[in-house]
Point group: C2
Chain length 773, copies 2
């Protein structure tokens, strides 16, 4: 755990330069706009440790799977969002000496991520080996207004000398993914051109043949005056640049404004890519840096209006929750249903930038509550578009008749994870995808989504489950053999309670969705029946038989659901019995030892109790929580939030707060020593859930918002914004009670502590705490 | 399945050249002598499909593991026996045109593997694109007398022209393993030298720094007369050669005798390697081809004296069983306890040439019965030498106090497989290693082996099992969780009956071995106790507690042992219910489908019944056989033999014969379309077992050989050789009865059909069949 980020409510601040934490900061200070993302790499050359990262959404490479022993059905490749051309580069030479913070003496280094307005600023003084000192200020952003573009303002001032500056703004496409399986480079050059102050480089990905055109244009000021330059064009393999010289006297400031854009063939015809890139560059160049930045700030302030959480009395918590919201909003904007949310977003290469069940289980609640419903709808449509691939994926595994198994990891609908125990067996993701549909309809009331898209997906998923169970003659019940639950510290278990329970829930929900669509619009229903060849009598009958005869493992004596059959045969030891030297298990223990142990990586039974909480009484939840939590090591960043929410529900506010703390500053403080690989974007949504669903006790029941909040004792107050069916609410929880402000023009009725309140448009109410503060 | 090998009792014969089966033939016609092995690649250039293979025993490369997602404890590398320098190469150019069977018109192609005398002969007529015709005869062998050497006689005759022959005997070290994980080459050059008719090339393996010096010397005859030559020396990177020209008139024969040797730094100091290689080359060159071949033939005839099986009335079966015996004797000679038997021997790269439990479970019975006991002893000492590594391997997995887990795959004692479900969980191999000790002592009577080596190994293995079980509070018994049994179509199961049963057997045998050693020699006992820090009271008490309280899954109703807990929850379908299109499952079904299915790859419960047959009554064996065999797909070549032996025991002679047939000509007829990767060397021992333990019903009980033979109806008779405690027996089973010939100077008492017979030295007896023929 590191602790170098300065606490500030709206900014992430690093002071002083430590090369050992550079890769961590590169992750934390990442920028993105949903279409492209950029790690906080330096503009100027840097010969120290760095993980260069510029990612263009939707552009991937199918990297040949690395596997020891091929087995039938394995995915051929692991898809990777590509590290694309470096568009931020500005090389600086001073009288022939390279500016490089790895070889210079650095002072006054300060890096600020302004989350309110959405930009990154970096300033420092560098003394070169020759003794020459320069002051640098670099400011940049990825525009969420011009969402294919970024802009940089780079200022440099000689402090103790007058000299000649050779400056080279460039685009470098000769980059690679550090996690390439076979150390290959993934890009080929297509075209390049360099003009006097602009340059364009088009690259094509190997195998997938995506093309990305990266363009730049720049303008230079000397002491605030534009400089007429005749830069020298440079063209190398996959590299374009313009090099110029400026002589500057001591204390004179040279400023380079560099405008850049990444356009992808996913959005333009390949033969028009360069032309469109030139148009975007022209447009933003004309707009200029200041106006672009101003628009950026306004757009971000508008986002915060809908999604901010304010914590009073705990600046570190305030900074952390805003950081999480900022990163989530940088990563996914919901404008393109072909895109999704990688576990590391645009902040690193790990997990390939691909889509996991994290999206449905953790991110959907965040976007439902903080953004227009279209944003979540697009996340659902992403899966709808992949339905055919999910059916093909199931066919590869021997399923038939339109059964759909969504991939564990995907970028284009095909499975691309490469561990059999995950790919083939961690099938519960299929239920999360169904649950997200349910969650979306529950939250938005948009039942028409089922008619148009949802029902087809649900039928495919339900068919999978119906084929995936088998009849056990020994038990005279259906069983589900050979699965891996959310607790990935088990593999290939039989009758995982969570998976089986969610499978049944899917069958049930699909049956009710069928009835709903039929009642709402018989034509839509018939169209889906025809399209899916749905057997309207046989399939529901079969599903009912499964619903009535499924084996779910329980221990009657303990009054708990069993994580899987045989769980109680494991050694009866608890996490508190582990020596500190054994933690984290995934670094200290061999894999088989972890598998044999009773220790649980993340919520498994409890994940089911979280999803389906209204089906279980509080005592059942408590017994299971009290049994499983002490056996849970929370070695997934997705684990604590579910526990925080359940602890809050069980009235254990202190534990709920402790669970929240485990992930609240996960990346800012680099808890797990892995932030250098990128930030834990999807688990940030979990932290948001801990606050809103945990501390805020927010639920949607019967088309109505419910709140059951408590105030963590360390905080003076906290407030969060919720958009619900056209109403924007600000809920503030303080010692004085729960204030709900209806910021919209629509009335709303909400339930606070089980009491119904009507809140008229543009008014507010105060609900008293039901407990003594 | 192919069927192109001509049936012949002592020879493997291919007639006609088919490039599509070239790689298969390269495997089948492989030569070896325990120290080196050579696929049947051509001496002259060949531009068609080929898998070059020259292997030097004990020289390996630790190829970086290819794994999708690293988990703690994974082996860092997969060790591979290296494809070493090509020593057979003789390039031939005729008036500038290369002799290459891929571009020539080939007729009269004939390849013969003479198993009786141990050499390979190939002859053909080739018409070059120019129309020139040559006749070639090539004969070669890897000497088992001079076991680092090989020799080649290569004759070429122009048939329809007179011309100039440019001939280049060479050594080429610029080779690679086709299965290299990252497409790397594994050898660096150390030294080379070329003289007028000899050349030497020393290569060093990357990482492991083994050195191998390959040397050659040659002599040329023209129409039977030695030719004085001034060959031109050629040196390239990792390549040495001597090139010379001979003008030959039509029908004149040019003969090249090429002598070669591979010396490894495992056997000589590196700085003396070249010198020793020169000495070996001088020695064999002086000996000459004919004498070498004569010695080779004598040595092989002597081997056959001890190990031959004669089948009358079925030439194909005769050829096949001799092929198996020949390959086993080519692969392992038992002279060096650092060497072992790879599943493909020296016939291909697959499985890395490394050691599996195949050695203990399948090969040991063959070598015990057909070779000096020292041969098997060396196989056991191989594991003894790896005990410390096995202890370290267990430590990596969290075991302590001298617990030893032998690797699933190894070349130097370190685990080098790279699938967790095999590496970590297929731990039953530990029991096979203990069982081989038991088997050796049972067969040879050499109980002193326990004092010197065996007991230490047994203690390490027993300690592993004692730590690997855990107490289940739910069952109030010990359980063994998370294992993979011999049936690799299951992974990570709980309470695999075979593994748990064999674990208990190990505890029991170790306890009895402790008592035996203590009784035989208290000093030896105390030395072992001290060396292993054995707790003479606590450990046995603990083991006894486990022995008395272990959970073994059974189904009382069916009267069977359960392959694992929950096996009966699987779908109740049989192999006969499968469509032909589904077979083999491992090519047609996805891995998860195989895992979920009830289908069994190879003997699992039945493997236990085979090993421990004297503990179970016939009806128990029958019930289990009748339950499991119909669920077994036999997709391991190690499966049928166990079933053949059990079927024979159960009196089902026809089925026993059918199981035998499944592997008897596995490679000769390329049943599984994979012979091109190499021959199934270790399963050849299984076929031998089918004949001797199955049809012959041979067992050792209470220091006595038992036979319970039957004659397959298709055969007139069969006979096999058995060496037992200094006695060489020839057992011939024919319609007239069982004839036992004691070929040695020692009396022996044997049991045939439960009746004791005394067979005096150099005499024979005839036991009548107990059944009506």
């Amino acid at each position: 755990m590191k602790n170098y980020i300065k606490v500030n409510e709206w900014n992430i601040i690093e002071e002083g330069f430590d090369p050992h934490r550079n890769k961590i900061s590169e992750s934390i200070f990442s920028l993105g706009n949903g279409r492209m993302g950029q790690r906080a790499n330096f503009e100027e050359a840097y010969s120290g440790e760095t993980l260069p990262g510029n990612y263009v959404a939707g552009v991937y490479y199918p990297d040949k799977t690395r596997v020891g022993w091929w087995k039938n059905g394995y995915p051929e490749y692991f898809a990777k969002v590509l590290n694309a051309a470096n568009w931020i580069g500005i090389d600086v030479k001073i009288d022939g000496e390279t500016l490089d913070l790895h070889t210079a003496k650095v002072s006054d280094f300060r890096r600020v991520l302004n989350m309110r307005e959405g930009y990154l600023q970096r300033s420092f003084t560098a003394e070169l080996p020759s003794g020459k000192q320069v002051k640098v200020m670099a400011k940049r952003f990825c525009s969420i207004v011009d969402d294919e573009a970024g802009a940089i303002c780079y200022r440099i001032t000689p402090l103790n000398f007058s000299g000649n500056f050779t400056i080279t703004p460039y685009i470098d496409g000769d980059i690679k993914n550090q996690d390439a399986n076979y150390d290959e480079k993934f890009w080929d050059e297509v075209t390049k051109e360099v003009n006097s102050s602009s340059a364009f480089l088009t690259l094509r990905t190997k195998k997938t043949a995506f093309e990305v055109c990266t363009g730049m244009q720049f303008v230079v000021y000397h002491n605030g005056q534009p400089v007429e330059l005749k830069p020298e064009p440079i063209q190398n393999d996959k590299y374009v640049a313009c090099q110029f010289n400026v002589a500057a006297l001591q204390h004179e400031e040279i400023t380079i404004f560099k405008f850049a854009a990444n356009l992808s063939s996913e959005n333009y015809p390949k033969d028009k890519l360069l032309q469109h890139c030139q148009e975007v560059i022209q447009k933003i160049f004309k707009k200029g840096f200041d106006q672009m930045l101003q628009e950026q700030a306004q757009a971000w302030i508008a986002k915060w209006e809908e999604s901010d959480i304010v914590i009073e009395g705990d600046a570190a918590a305030q900074q952390a929750i805003r950081f999480n919201i900022f990163q989530l909003n940088q990563t996914y904007t919901g404008e393109d249903a072909r895109l999704n949310i990688g576990p590391k977003g645009f902040t690193g290469e790990k997990y390939g930038g691909t889509t996991y069940w994290d999206t449905e289980a953790y991110c959907v609640p965040f976007y439902l509550a903080t953004a227009d419903s279209q944003v979540t709808r697009n996340l659902l449509i992403y899966r709808y578009k992949h339905l055919q691939k999910a059916i093909e994926n199931a066919e590869k595994l021997g399923f038939t008749n339109g059964a759909a198994l969504y991939p564990m990891v995907t970028i284009n609908g095909e499975e691309c994870h490469n561990e059999w125990e995950i790919t083939f067996e961690e099938i519960h993701r299929n239920a999360a995808i169904a649950f997200a549909i349910y969650n979306y309809v529950r939250y938005t009331g948009d039942a028409a989504y089922l008619n148009e898209y949802g029902l087809e997906v649900l039928i495919g998923i339900a068919r999978f489950w119906a084929q995936r169970v088998n009849w056990s003659e020994a038990k005279q019940q259906y069983v589900m053999l050979g699965v891996t639950g959310p607790n990935e510290y088990e593999n290939n278990v039989n009758n995982n309670w969570y998976t089986s329970t969610m499978a049944l829930w899917c069958l049930e929900y699909t049956l009710s969705a069928l009835a709903l669509v039929r009642n709402n619009n018989i034509g839509d229903y018939e169209a889906v029946v025809e399209k899916t060849n749905f057997l309207t009598i046989d399939e529901p009958l079969n599903w009912q038989h499964i619903l009535q005869n499924m084996y779910l493992p329980v221990d009657e004596e303990k009054g708990i659901f069993l994580q899987q059959e045989g769980y109680l045969d494991k050694e009866n030891i608890l996490v508190k019995d582990l020596k500190p030297a054994d933690r984290p298990l995934n670094q200290k223990w061999s894999w088989d030892r972890i598998l044999r142990s009773p220790f649980i990586k993340q919520a498994d039974v409890l994940q089911g109790l979280y999803f389906l909480e209204d089906r279980f009484d509080l005592e059942t939840i408590r017994r299971n929580f009290d049994f499983y939590e002490p056996r849970t090591v929370h070695e997934s960043s997705l684990s604590p939030c579910v526990h925080a929410i359940l602890a809050a529900k069980l009235g254990d506010e202190e534990r709920a707060y402790q669970f929240y703390l485990r992930t609240s500053r996960l990346d800012l403080d680099d808890y797990n020593n892995d932030t250098e690989d990128g930030c834990h974007i999807t688990s940030m949504a979990g932290t948001w859930m801990s606050v809103v669903e945990g501390f805020g006790g927010m639920r949607v029941r019967h088309n109505q918002l419910h709140f059951n909040p408590f105030l963590p004792t360390k905080w003076h107050s906290f407030s969060f914004k919720i958009g619900f069916r056209g109403v924007l609410l600000n809920i503030k929880v303080s010692k004085g009670g729960v204030q709900l402000v209806n910021q919209s023009d629509k009335n709303i009725s909400v339930v606070v502590y089980d009491k119904v309140y009507e809140i008229k448009a543009k008014t507010q109410i105060l609900a008293e705490h039901e407990y003594v503060a």
